[in-house]
Symmetry: C2
Subunit: 309 residues, 2 copies
């Protein structure tokens, strides 16, 4: 089904894509404790936050401080999201070794998010990527809304491939296709990922950022695996949905993704039960249930689901 | 990814596999209203209940009455679960045209469920299947715990294939592989389904019964599609989890399965928005949120998930 079962890298993004939607600010010490918890569970790439306007996203205002405070462990990559040159300067000031630098493939999402159409946003981000690469940063270029957008629905695959080719031409190390609104389906993920794979240099790595809004997050991950992707974003507990929509789901849950990958024979190096325990700690802090499933399955006070007739 | 995108048959089982776990009994009139709702949404096969011991499963005690009361529409198949000859006689008495008759592939689950090891349970069910076929009933033979069991973990694939071959030899029309405890993963579903497909007559149809306990329900459905399966069980709202395990998930939600299938280009003949509305009615009756996702997405008072940065 998959050809080979290689290692898979799972990047946890709950500190960024999860917390940015929370009304409550998580104190720096709590963030640091979660970074240590993720490391202890075996997570090898951790997105600490984003270098964006603190007035717009107050939850991310301490990303600089967090980068400075984190003790960097060998074998773990610390990364963050950057959307413009001002953000990159802040990232370089704290010696971020790896960055996600992204644009949206959807015209209306791009205008809503950065006030520019896609072509202008790309022209604007190119020197940011160039400067990051020149500074020795490993650059992952991200394509938001690659599988559709809440404003305009499906985005034409050719548009996504064109953005990927532009990124490829800039010499980025990795290209990330993001299903920002959770609109993608497995067939689409398989086809679009294959089209991007065929359009860029063979040594550019591909990764997928998946949301579980319609319950297809893990199905889309499997479709990505079948298309050869071996890097997936996830968020502890499945954090990341809009807190104003009841039961709206966020990113695929890191513990669920790791469990599924290991069950299928892929090696992640991550202990999903340690993540499940960490996810329950996060639920305690946020005072609500998160959508991830394995935190329930692994709970010590909960018996395994009995087999039924 | 799938070869062809044929029609897919989705069998709704919420009236059986969903309601059998509920503490509250749904009155016959409510059950009839939901049957009409499922028909109106386009569902073409509806499992009305099970002919089992009413003392053990009181929620199913009115299955005979429901079969007699339902007005049978052309193009819709009404079915039920049967586990022994006494149940079959009741099913024949109400002229059930289609039945699921099943055993477990797991020794410990079989002993817990029917008090017999698998071989004895098979020997016991063979004349039931024979009598049903002789009476002109369309028989779907089910293999419970085909992907593992809460008591003993993974079940050897050869055991499942052996049970399937026995069923095949009896001349059944369809073989259903059931992930009763929600332990299956996509690789396993793909491999086991392929192995069963290769072991039985080409004109025996295969179907999958999937639970979403670990969030892999729809991913397993996609793996089944890739293995050529075109019949899937589901339950309105994703009902069917154990009510004593918080957040434990039941069957894949019919509305979510239909949405995903249609998004991938398969034709189900079902209107998922009508199902989502029906699912919200069921939530009203049961006075709790169900795990299905599309009932949230489609809710008229809830805006579509906005695209985020």
């Amino acid at each position: 089904m998959f050809g080979s079962s290689d290692d898979v890298l799972v990047e946890d993004e709950f500190l960024r894509d999860g917390l940015q939607n929370e009304a409550r600010l998580l104190p720096l010490d709590d963030k640091l404790a979660f970074v240590r918890g993720l490391e202890a569970a075996g997570v090898r790439r951790i997105q600490l936050g984003s270098f964006v306007n603190p007035a717009r996203v107050p939850q991310m205002a301490d990303t600089d401080a967090l980068f400075s405070a984190v003790e960097r462990r060998p074998g773990v990559t610390y990364t963050a999201l950057v959307l413009n040159m001002a953000g990159l300067e802040r990232a370089l000031a704290v010696a971020a070794p790896h960055l996600s630098i992204s644009v949206s493939a959807s015209e209306s999402h791009s205008r809503a998010n950065v006030g520019k159409p896609v072509d202008e946003a790309l022209a604007h981000i190119a020197p940011v990527i160039g400067r990051a690469l020149a500074a020795g940063v490993t650059v992952r270029a991200g394509i938001q809304s690659a599988f559709g957008c809440g404003f305009e629905g499906r985005v034409a695959p050719e548009r996504v491939v064109a953005v990927a080719k532009t990124f490829d031409g800039l010499g980025v190390h990795e290209i990330n296709l993001a299903d920002t609104a959770g609109l993608g389906n497995p067939r689409q993920v398989h086809e679009l990922t294959g089209a991007v794979r065929a359009a860029v240099r063979p040594d550019v790595r591909l990764s997928l950022h998946l949301h579980d809004t319609r319950g297809l997050g893990l199905a889309n991950m499997v479709a990505g695996l079948q298309a050869g992707v071996r890097i997936f974003d996830a968020a502890l507990g499945g954090l990341g949905g809009c807190p104003f929509i009841p039961a709206a789901s966020g990113n695929i849950a890191t513990e669920d993704a790791v469990f599924a990958l290991e069950e299928m024979g892929f090696a992640t190096g991550i202990d999903w039960q340690a993540l499940a325990a960490l996810s329950r700690r996060l639920e305690g802090l946020l005072e609500r249930r998160l959508p991830g499933r394995m935190a329930r399955i692994a709970a010590p006070d909960v018996a395994p689901n009995p087999a039924k007739g």
